[in-house]
């Protein structure tokens, strides 16, 4: 009985291979959205012979061909395996109408008749990526608020800024180092100048270097990137000049160590143990080395002030340092320390951004609660999906 069934199956599969392959149907093409007009998205319905359970497989895949409207320049633009119902041709030219064909591919040379596109498709160049429109709106609102409050501050509108203990302690830390006759150490983190936390760290360095110059203390700045070293040298030199002490600037104290994370850490910890700095400042991007640095600084009795935008490293700095600038405080430091009205105005703009984020959070929570109470298909669910997927989701702020 089993043999008979096996034999029947073999005969059926042999017949399937002998018969003409069925072509896929319903070939459709649409211009790929939000691109420069070089892509076309194709979809189709699988060939009836593309059966996942057939053994051996009758259809092994599909070949996709593209040609101009008059049939010229016909070429295969892609192959996809069985069971796949879509393909994106990314080699088109914007504004040129194309025709597409798709063919089922069987064993060996076996090919189906082509399924053709009913009418030509012309890829079009889009000037604006509309999927990112909501993100654009949020950027305009936040940046608009920053610019508005910066302008207002320029015209004399006073801005209140709360006290940031870590920044107020800079003078204390440098004063302590001066009294003890020990150096100050500034670590600008691991990243290069193209990272905003590094820029924020260098802005803090400007203030630290100025205080050091005023107090006639010593400041050492080992860097992990040579571009950061160049920038830090310029900053320290300008700060010494601003403090009226250009002669105290020593470029040899701002030097490059290594791009390698733990080589840099080894140098810093060695320096701390040998030179025993009285004040250590960490401002920039830090990863696993944050705790090694802060604990070593702690062990040599340094007063430590740290600031980073890496949320995962904040607990380590909080545990081992005397003061920690948490997240946004690192970016607010430049404005806080300089007390320039324009910069303080930008902090007010950030607050407007926080209001917007808070409002979105409240709306989201309210919609989620309403949707949970009202059940599937409620207007609240649609609004929540729109908020999550369109405004905050793909292409949005999320």
């Amino acid at each position: 009985m089993v043999l008979a069934l096996w034999g029947f199956g073999s005969i059926e599969s042999a017949r399937a291979q002998d018969a003409a392959l069925a072509a896929p149907t319903g070939l459709k093409a649409v211009d790929h959205p939000n691109d420069v007009g070089t892509s076309v998205d194709l979809t189709w319905t699988l060939s009836v012979d593309d059966n996942a359970r057939a053994q051996p497989r009758v259809v092994n895949g599909y070949e996709i061909y593209r040609s101009l409207v008059d049939g010229d320049e016909r070429e295969m633009v892609g192959e996809v395996p069985y069971g796949v119902e879509k393909f994106t041709d990314q080699q088109c030219t914007a504004g040129v109408p194309y025709l597409f064909e798709i063919i089922s591919v069987g064993t060996g040379e076996q090919r189906s008749e082509p399924a053709r596109l009913a009418k030509p498709i012309t890829p079009i160049r889009q000037w604006i990526d509309r999927s990112r429109a909501w993100f654009g709106v949020i950027v305009v609102l936040v940046c608009g608020a920053v610019i508005l409050f910066t302008r207002l501050a320029r015209f004399g509108k006073a801005t209140y800024v709360r006290e940031i203990a870590g920044l107020q302690a800079i003078d204390e830390a440098v004063g302590r180092a001066t009294e003890m006759g020990r150096p100050c150490l500034f670590v600008p983190g691991l990243q290069d100048m193209n990272e905003i936390p590094t820029v924020a760290g260098i802005n803090i360095l400007a203030r630290v270097a100025r205080t050091v110059a005023e107090y006639d203390a010593t400041l050492t700045v080992p860097t992990a990137r040579s571009l950061v070293m160049t920038s830090a040298r310029e900053t320290v030199q300008a700060s010494c000049l601003a403090a009226g002490r250009p002669e105290v600037y020593d470029e040899n104290l701002v030097y490059y160590v290594s791009d390698e994370q733990f080589a840099y850490v080894a140098h810093l910890t060695g320096y701390m143990v040998r030179e025993r700095p009285a004040a250590c400042f960490y401002a920039g991007t830090f990863y696993a080395e944050s705790l090694i640095l802060a604990e070593t600084g702690n062990s040599v009795g340094a007063l430590q002030i740290a600031g980073t935008a890496e949320a995962s490293q904040l607990p380590f700095f909080v545990a081992a340092c005397d003061y920690t600038l948490i997240g946004e405080e690192l970016f607010a430091a430049s404005a806080y320390l300089s007390r320039e009205p324009q910069q303080l105005g930008s902090l007010k703009g950030q607050d407007a951004g926080k209001l917007l984020a808070g409002a979105l959070l409240i709306v989201g929570c309210a919609l989620a609660t309403w949707a949970a109470l009202a059940g599937n298909g409620s207007p609240a669910e649609s609004m929540l999906v729109f908020l999550k997927d369109t405004i905050l989701g793909r292409g949005g702020a999320g």
């Binding site: 990526d129 936040v142 920053v146 040579s226 160049t230 490059y256 080894a266 705790l291 950030q350």
Partner: protein, 232 residues
């Protein structure tokens, strides 16, 4: 001019990056800007190497504290540089059988490869391993119940630490299924999913806004302290 020209370059690059995010036709510009940065970074490597050499040489000649380590650094620097540039131990590739310099410097068995795997990697791992000891000493200090906040931290840390071990699950295994939130793993999950996540997200929102505002200040030239001098 000293800070204006660098600011103009930074502003132009920044606005190009923003435009490229919203304009499909300009998306290639992001790559161009990235390539320019890579070129700059390549020159910076030379600058960094020269500075490293000069700094440690100066330290050795002045016999400053730790000058012996500077000697080790210089020897390691020169040996690694020579092994990589001269492609020591790299066999000639099939395509250019008479020219060993055409081979890959990372070839398995080459001097560079050996230095990386048998010197650099173990040293790196050793430094990383030190973290375990530092975590212990930091935790000992952080978890002392000096005041109310420190006590809350201590209790929370105790629950989370215990909840992530087998002992935590075993200690509260007799708690009925309906009250699983009261087990150590259950309380840990709630603390991480509710308290910890909410705190982290609040910090992340602040950081994102701070990055946006700082970027804008850099682009508009409001804050030029990173360029060395505000004045021209």
């Amino acid at each position: 001019m000293k800070s204006t020209i660098p600011w103009l370059i930074a502003a132009a690059t920044g606005f190009v990056m923003i435009a490229a995010y919203f304009i499909p036709a300009a998306q290639g510009w992001q790559g161009e800007v990235g390539t320019w940065f890579e070129i700059l970074a390549a020159f910076a490597f030379v600058l960094g190497g020269a500075n490293l050499f000069a700094y440690h040489l100066g330290k050795i000649s002045a016999r400053r504290a730790g000058w012996g380590y500077s000697g080790v650094t210089l020897v390691a620097f020169l040996v690694t540089l020579a092994a990589g540039m001269l492609k020591l131990g790299v066999p000639a590739p099939d395509r250019y059988p008479t020219n060993a310099w055409a081979g890959d410097f990372q070839f398995e068995g080459s001097v560079s490869w050996w230095l990386y795997w048998y010197l650099y990697n173990p040293l790196n791992a050793t430094m990383f391993a030190l973290l375990a000891f530092y975590v212990s000493s930091a935790a000992f200090r952080a978890f002392r119940a000096k005041n109310t906040e420190a006590t809350v931290l201590l209790v929370t840390a105790f629950i989370v630490l215990l909840g992530r071990t087998y002992a935590g699950a075993w200690l509260t295994s007799s708690v009925p299924e309906n009250y699983s939130a009261l087990t150590f793993p259950g309380m840990t999950a709630i603390i991480l999913a509710v308290g910890n996540t909410a705190g982290q997200r609040a910090i992340m929102i602040g950081i994102a806004l701070g990055v946006a505002a700082t970027s804008l200040k850099v682009l508009l030239g409001v804050d030029r302290s990173y360029l060395g001098s505000d004045g021209d």
